[in-house]
Symmetry: D2
Subunit: 180 residues, 4 copies
């Protein structure tokens, strides 16, 4: 199955990125770094007469790329107990995609996919990251997408994650599952 890993960090070589590569090595998947793309925040125009105005950025390109894979791994540093800014913006814009006549297939396509979440934070993420897991679960539920697993890693300074044996082990278990 084709795997895409969407990296949500706003910096390079972060801890979430490290953990995600540990779960899904470079050559096994399409790795997408949101920081390399330009994605505007959503402006809620769902209820405007003319609907959403066209936005000139890279969002649709990313959506197209994502949809070409069966397994999507969302890897994000935890910003204030939630998704990173780039990841949140990427997902917020799905509300616009869902109203785009060219993407009438979006919801149905997501329903066929398997999602994983990898999230890394500095403040007790195995507890304080649970609301994020629950939200992510509601997102998957909305689309009927299978939420197949998550790993919560603890790290603050660059490289910290290498000492979080438990998260690394859990990520390694994911690899095995995904490759089945």
């Amino acid at each position: 199955m084709k795997i895409a890993v969407i990296h949500g960090s706003s910096r390079q070589n972060g801890n979430a990125e490290y953990l995600a590569y540990h779960a899904v090595p470079k050559e096994k998947a399409t790795h997408i770094h949101l920081q390399d793309y330009h994605i505007q925040q959503i402006i809620d125009e769902r209820h405007e007469v003319k609907g959403f105005k066209n936005v000139h950025d890279d969002h649709k390109e990313l959506i197209d790329l994502m949809l070409r894979h069966e397994i999507i791994v969302f890897s994000t540093p935890i910003y204030w107990y939630s998704l990173s800014g780039p990841m949140k913006t990427f997902i917020d814009r799905w509300s616009q995609i869902m109203r785009d006549p060219n993407y009438a297939h979006f919801r149905g396509e997501l329903k066929k996919k398997k999602a994983y979440l990898i999230a890394v934070g500095g403040d007790n993420p195995t507890i304080k990251g649970l609301p994020l897991v629950q939200q992510f679960n509601y997102i998957c539920q909305f689309f009927g997408m299978e939420f197949a697993g998550y790993v919560l890693g603890q790290a603050s300074k660059p490289g910290d994650i290498k000492n979080n044996k438990r998260a690394l082990d859990e990520a390694a278990v994911l690899v095995t599952e995904i490759n089945l």
Copy 2:
């Protein structure tokens, strides 16, 4: 006590805004609409040798304005079971403020404040909005800020919230408390 209401919607006259005005009428507070300001997403440069690069937008002006009040009401539509984009971006950038030598007082100031959360969503918010409440609680806890109350309203189309008697009543209770 001086009250600031921070409105996180990306559109005007939304349901969260209506509910927030119901809790804190126009003339009783400073009402700040994030959509009227330019706030860039955070780029995590906490671990760069030179720290965060200066950002030219309205964020510090908003921080200064917020800090001049004792009670802060965060009013947000629920985007994908979490804060709206503008509200998330506003809060994400606090990580940069905390490392700004001109804002050494930021954390200590927030500690003295009382926070309320008003959140409105279309998909069963009194249940599916609970992870958002829990996250918001962790944010308050981080600063030692009192999380004094929340209201979760249900609404999708413009004006829907006017039919959510329970949320309106709960918002009205907040008014009474805040004015004490």
Copy 3:
């Protein structure tokens, strides 16, 4: 619609009881006090060849009584961030009822009912009671029963709840809804 209020306290005149009577006055509903009944803890015999052994206590009588109402209000003091002992035991035994051939209708009957939760605790219940609300939601979901609302009250010493204006107001809102 016929309303049953199930009181889960292990003592009389507790704060949860007071709040529940505030939401549903004595004469408007059948009030059931679990402390007046004998209910044994479940012994998990789901996987025994002979199934569950018959238990001689008041559980079935309570189930029969509950099923004769359309709206069920579960009122419980919060014990260690969860249901009270009597309420937990009452619900745990539903697993046995579901395997009792005389109660083949149990699941289908619950599906038609509307449930409310009233929970009172001493340690920041509007936040620390949220996992209890989420669990209760999963219970309702399991049966396809509508989870129509909840009130979280704060109180420790007897009578404390009378000072929790917000919870009393929220309970009063429930009354209105239920009587519709």
Copy 4:
């Protein structure tokens, strides 16, 4: 460090028990099976003039036994998205212990301990077991006890857990940590 594993199942050879033995083998710890003891439900007499009446059961013996260990592993099947009945009753009675003059040291002793949670359920426990994890965290927080880790396993029928490779792997990681 001395380890106690408290097994909360109401039957023998259950899936939670299997997972707990996988994390902490028989000979490495004191294994306590609550089903072998008689523990009465708590009657809330905190506010009675004379306080709690003495209860003649095995609870204090179990408390004494628990306090003689540094690491406590709570292993429980998930009953209705929460602790098993025996585990809930065991913990509920802590409220009585805390008011027993012979156990003035109880709270202080728990503060020095490390707690782990192992919970096994049949209905999507890695998501629907999260409120249980959050509650357990609040219990630990109440005592200032370190909540050092948890494993959520999926299983319904006897033996199912042997196929939950991910939970077994996570339990195995716990062993390593505990033995350090």
